[in-house]
């Protein structure tokens, strides 16, 4: 039995490889994800180990606020300068150095643009001399307050050199400096993990990066000879007390790396998501291939039964085939995954400005994931065909047992049940009834919906395929193709369903994003009564900001009626972390955003007063006169009194603080500016003047309302394209499925093709016939996908109604493109099978048997 199975497997290797390819791709993503995160993780470990190599013990102040995941970075409390002295006096300390190092030093390159970084921080620090790690490559140390050093990586990225006068944006608006030196790191590295560094003199660094003199972000300590690091750590901690965090260098390095690795899990999730899609489509493919193979081997399997093989053995033989395919696919997928993981790690390293990659290794999780996923998917998909194979009666060996088309009732009823389960799960998940399990519930709902619709597909396929094929019926080969595609509803259905998944996901995402886009622009149209808007696109971890002085200067321009600068930050308000805003001119709230007071006065705001939205007021039980303690990132805790409540609106912050409070925000500079013109003033006249004022704030630009609204939705367009491109993969896999199905059908119908050729069907007509069959199947799949995707998208949009997505937009043009894509996919998939069919030797085809 075992030998027979392997023989038959080898005889069909090409076909199985084709269907196994989907599993290979799925496994590739799974193992690629693990390899990528493992490699990057170890690379970061190495970077931090290097960076903190010379540090025996590190002292920093406990942050003002404990910050959870996804709540932004904690702003560390500065360490007062006298702490350095206190540490030096601890027994066992050889030396202690006050360090200023904080994210947010943005150098303006020689092209006038800010040197951006995707991910790694842009550190502004104080120069404390060279060390084992930091080596001066060129020039000298900074002496005057307008002198800086930059690391070689930043010098290259910004195309700046020693002697250049450059602008640097920090907590303060642009200031000019002279580059007096360029430094690198041990081992000839230009940058540590892509980090850009600007080194100031200590007082300048304190002012620009901390916003206060006589303080440091942390103190590094070297231990005297013979003193153990952890011993010293405990000693220092004991002296300094509970307000400080004291860690050994090794601890610090491990903690820092752990934080970054946390961020990496994002990549993991994306890759695993695509793996899931690929594997879902792959399951359909494998199921179909094994079904066809079993159908073709009916005689052979019946013979085995006739010579005494039991049903179990038949099942075993099919499952064994699946195991072999799964193993092979897993091995190939693992190999490809290591490759893809390495490639992505390399790309990541390059994109982030030169992360030195640790060697590529294959973590056990990748191997376990690859084989687990590959084997399970293949075997599960092959189970149904295996059961069917076991039901072949031995008599089928002797004669052509007509295998009647089994009625579709059972599969349709099951499909309806599964689809309803999916719909119910979606309803629960999207309706917010699933609590903590929302994401799982929604994903489960989508999965069930896909499987359910796939089961319903055979039933739907009859009328739809008939209708679609009707388009080709005027042409004999077209008619034959249509009839062939309707011949085996199950096979057609599964093939189409594989395509459906990809198309449905693309359609769904497009519906959601287009609806979001339309809602956002609609809102902005409605709610923002400013003719000009100052804003910029966020490229790094920090939002773009500009010089607050621009606001005043703009207000003085002729034709400008009102200017509002919007500041914002996360802050601890009462016992919750909330986004708080501040406006340079609080009256803009009513005039530009159309805020309406529900209580108190919202047109004014004293230094100790705050405004809250009606939502916040309701949820926290606040009313005019309530007092709330607020802890900002860079200020002492302070209690504000609610002086007004405005109706919650989409462009209004939940909490508005007075303009003076903005100095305590992480970034005390405005992120956006809104300009309202006097009646009769032309936006086109004022715009260039504001542009001139923004010359020193290269992160932002000024745009009229229309352009601003477009800018707001641009990121969504980018996101949409990215998702569409990635989901194309699912469509590519589905194409493999169509090729597979057609190739097998051609093989099955060799004799028929021979006959058709014998009665005069030309080669081109033969190819036309196969192409029509493919196109009918693929367009059917596309239509199905569009319908399911539109449904899913509409459900999500409906669920997000309260989040501000009020418009439901169906992307008709994209849907049309998708149908076209479906047709194209069919034509492409048909090429190989059609050529094969056209090349069939007529004599051989009709004379065989």
């Amino acid at each position: 039995m075992f030998r027979a199975t392997l023989k038959s497997l080898l005889a069909r290797k090409l076909r199985l490889i084709l269907s196994g390819l989907a599993v290979v791709l799925g496994v590739m993503f799974v193992s690629g994800a693990f390899v990528l995160t493992d490699t990057l993780g170890r690379s970061f470990d190495a970077v931090f180990a290097d960076a903190y190599e010379g540090v025996d013990v590190n002292v920093s102040a406990k942050p003002r606020m404990e910050v959870g995941d996804f709540e932004g970075d904690a702003v560390a409390m500065p360490v007062p300068a006298e702490t350095v002295e206190r540490i030096r006096n601890v027994a066992g300390v050889a030396d202690a150095t006050g360090i200023v190092a904080a994210d947010g030093a943005r150098l303006i390159g020689s092209n006038g643009k800010v040197v951006t970084s995707f991910g790694p921080p842009q550190i502004g620090a104080n120069w404390v001399g060279t060390s084992d790690l930091v080596q001066l490559r060129e020039g000298r140390e900074p002496q005057a307050d307008d002198e800086i050093l930059v690391n070689a990586g930043l010098a290259k990225a910004g195309r700046v050199a020693v002697g250049d006068r450059v602008g640097v944006l920090t907590l303060e608006p642009k200031q000019e400096f002279t580059i007096v030196g360029v430094f690198g790191y041990s081992g000839g590295r230009d940058s540590l993990g892509g980090v850009n560094e600007v080194m100031f003199t200590t007082p300048v660094a304190q002012q620009l990066m901390l916003g206060q003199g006589d303080a440091f972000t942390n103190v590094t300590v070297s231990a005297a000879a013979g003193v153990a690091n952890d011993r010293l750590r405990d000693d220092i901690a004991a002296v300094l007390g509970a307000d400080f965090e004291v860690k050994t260098g090794a601890e610090l390095s491990a903690d820092s790396a752990a934080t970054l690795k946390e961020g990496l899990s994002f990549f993991n999730r994306i890759l695993l998501g695509f793996a899931a899609v690929a594997l879902l489509v792959g399951t359909f493919l494998i199921l179909n291939t094994f079904s066809i193979i079993v159908a073709q081997r009916t005689r052979e399997l019946a013979l085995m039964r006739a010579v005494g093989a039991g049903r179990r053995q038949i099942i075993g033989s099919v499952v064994l085939e699946a195991v072999a395919v799964g193993l092979l696919a897993s091995v190939l997928g693992l190999g490809a995954g290591v490759g893809i993981g390495a490639l992505l790690a390399y790309l990541f390293g390059n994109l982030s400005g030169g992360l030195d990659l640790a060697g590529i290794a294959v973590p056990p999780a990748a191997v376990i994931g690859a084989f687990g996923v590959g084997l399970i998917i293949t075997v599960v998909a092959a189970l149904l065909p295996a059961l069917r194979a076991s039901r072949i009666p031995p008599i089928a060996a002797m004669q052509d047992v007509a295998m009647p088309d089994r009625p579709l009732t059972k599969v349709t009823v099951t499909g309806a049940a599964v689809t309803s389960t999916g719909a119910t799960l979606l309803f629960l998940g999207l309706g917010g009834h699933a609590g903590d399990n929302t994401l799982i519930t929604i994903l489960g709902g989508v999965l069930f919906a896909f499987i359910g619709v796939a089961l319903l597909t055979p039933m739907i396929s009859r009328p739809v395929v008939g209708l679609l094929g009707g388009l080709f019926s005027w042409w004999m080969p077209g008619k034959l193709g249509r009839l062939n595609s309707g011949r085996n509803p199950r096979r057609t259905a599964i093939t189409a369903a594989a395509l459906m998944v990809g198309i449905a996901l693309v359609t769904g995402v497009t519906v959601i994003l287009d609806s979001a886009k339309s809602s956002i622009s609609g809102l902005a149209e409605d709610k923002i009564k400013a003719e000009l808007v100052i804003s910029g696109a966020q490229t790094g971890s920090r939002p773009p900001t500009f010089d607050p002085a621009v606001l005043e200067k703009t207000a003085a321009l002729p034709g400008v009626a009102l200017v509002g600068g919007a500041y914002g930050d996360l802050a601890q308000v009462g016992d919750e972390r909330t986004w708080v805003g501040a406006n340079s001119d609080v009256s803009t709230l009513t005039q530009i955003f159309g805020a309406r007071a529900t209580a108190g006065d919202i047109s004014r705001l004293g230094p100790d007063q705050m405004l809250v939205s009606s939502d916040v007021a309701t949820s926290r039980g606040l009313s005019v006169g309530s007092t709330v303690p607020v802890q900002l990132a860079r200020a002492e805790a302070k209690t504000y009194t609610v002086s007004g409540i405005y109706e919650a609106g989409d462009f209004l912050d939940p909490v508005t603080l007075p303009a003076t409070a903005a100095q305590g925000f992480t970034i005390p500079q405005p992120m956006m500016g809104f300009i309202q013109l006097t009646p009769g003033a032309q936006a086109a006249d004022v715009l260039p003047r504001v542009e001139t004022l923004l010359a020193d704030s290269p992160e932002v630009s000024v745009a009229d309302r229309k352009a601003f609204i477009e800018q707001q939705t641009e990121p969504l367009d980018g996101l949409l394209r990215m998702i569409q491109i990635l989901l194309l993969l699912a469509i590519v896999i589905a194409v493999l499925g169509i090729i597979n199905t057609l190739a097998l059908s051609v093989l099955e119908r060799t004799r028929e093709l021979g006959l058709l050729r014998a009665v005069g069907l030309g080669r081109a007509q033969t190819m036309g016939m196969i192409t029509v069959e493919a196109v009918v199947i693929s367009v059917f799949g596309a239509l199905l996908g569009i319908a399911v995707g539109a449904g899913l998208g509409a459900a999500v949009v409906e669920a997000l109604h309260d989040e501000g997505i009020t418009d439901l937009v169906f992307p008709w043009a994209d849907m049309g493109t998708m149908v076209g894509l479906g047709a194209l996919v069919g034509v492409l998939a048909a090429v190989i099978p059609a050529v094969r069919a056209a090349r069939i030797d007529v004599l051989g085809a009709i004379a065989h048997d």
């Binding site: 007509a402 004999m476 008619k479 009665v759 005069g760 080669r763 004599l843 009709i846």
Partner: protein
């Protein structure tokens, strides 16, 4: 019926000095050794011979399904030898009809659609009167909307015959048309083929190993070892059987 067989100008199909060799060297098999033969219009010719005599190969070469190693084959005015795929397709559409042992109907099409298939493929309109005549003759009027799976073997083969006839080809090649039928259904099909020759002037070339079937033909050509060895005009089952027996002994002696 004239007895001067094989030399008339209006031959529907002709083979001249046809050699067919498969393989090379040790494995070389010579299927046809310089066969020359003509098949006159409006006659029903049977090709007979023991297994391996080359009778099927001869028919395949005549019909343009197989290429010849040497010699030429022509159908009507068309020289088949050397035709490319497009030429062969045209030939099959316009000049040749086929009837197979396995019926070879398309399961997705109704009887009527199967019958009209060659015309549909060629994009030609059926001649309604002729179509009606063919349907009447094969007696399938009330079965036209049935699919092959709903028809008996005899009915299926009659559909196949009607399919071959409906485009009025120069020659119909029938390959063991009764091989899969019981004797009664077989007799019906053969009668029907003979009638189409007698009444409508159709030319039919049939390969068979069944003397009873051959007896329906106007003429029987006997092949043995790749050569024409004998022929019978106006055969009966007995004369065919006798000739076959003789051939068998010759072959045995030859071995």
């Amino acid at each position: 019926m004239t007895a001067t067989v094989g030399r008339q100008a209006q031959a529907a199909a002709r083979a001249s000095e046809v050699w067919k060799v498969y393989g090379s060297g040790e494995a070389q098999v010579i299927a046809l050794r310089g066969v020359s033969c003509e098949f006159e219009q409006s006659r029903f010719t049977a090709i007979m011979g023991p297994s391996g005599s080359g009778k099927s190969t001869l028919m395949h070469c005549l019909a343009g399904l197989d290429s010849v190693t040497r010699g030429t084959v022509s159908i009507g005015e068309t020289t088949v030898t050397g035709l490319g795929d497009a030429g062969l397709t045209k030939l099959r559409r316009e000049q040749v009809g086929f009837i197979f042992q396995q019926f070879n109907l398309l399961p997705t099409l109704t009887a009527k659609e199967n019958i009209l298939l060659p015309l549909s493929i060629a994009g030609r309109k059926p001649d309604q009167a002729w179509f009606d005549t063919v349907i009447e003759t094969v007696g399938l009027r009330d079965r036209l909307d049935h699919r092959p799976a709903q028809l008996s073997g005899g009915q299926q083969q009659r559909v196949a015959c009607a399919r071959a006839l409906v485009s009025r080809p120069q020659v119909i090649f029938a390959d063991e048309p009764t091989g899969n039928l019981d004797s009664r259904a077989g007799a019906e099909v053969l009668k029907f083929l003979r009638n189409s020759v007698r009444e409508h002037g159709q030319t039919i070339v049939m390969v068979t190993h069944d003397p009873t079937a051959a007896a329906y033909a106007d003429r029987v050509v006997f092949l043995a070892d790749g050569q024409i060895v004998s022929e019978l005009i106006e055969p009966t089952a007995e004369t065919v059987l006798d000739t076959m027996k003789k051939l068998d002994t010759q072959v045995e002696v030859g071995d």
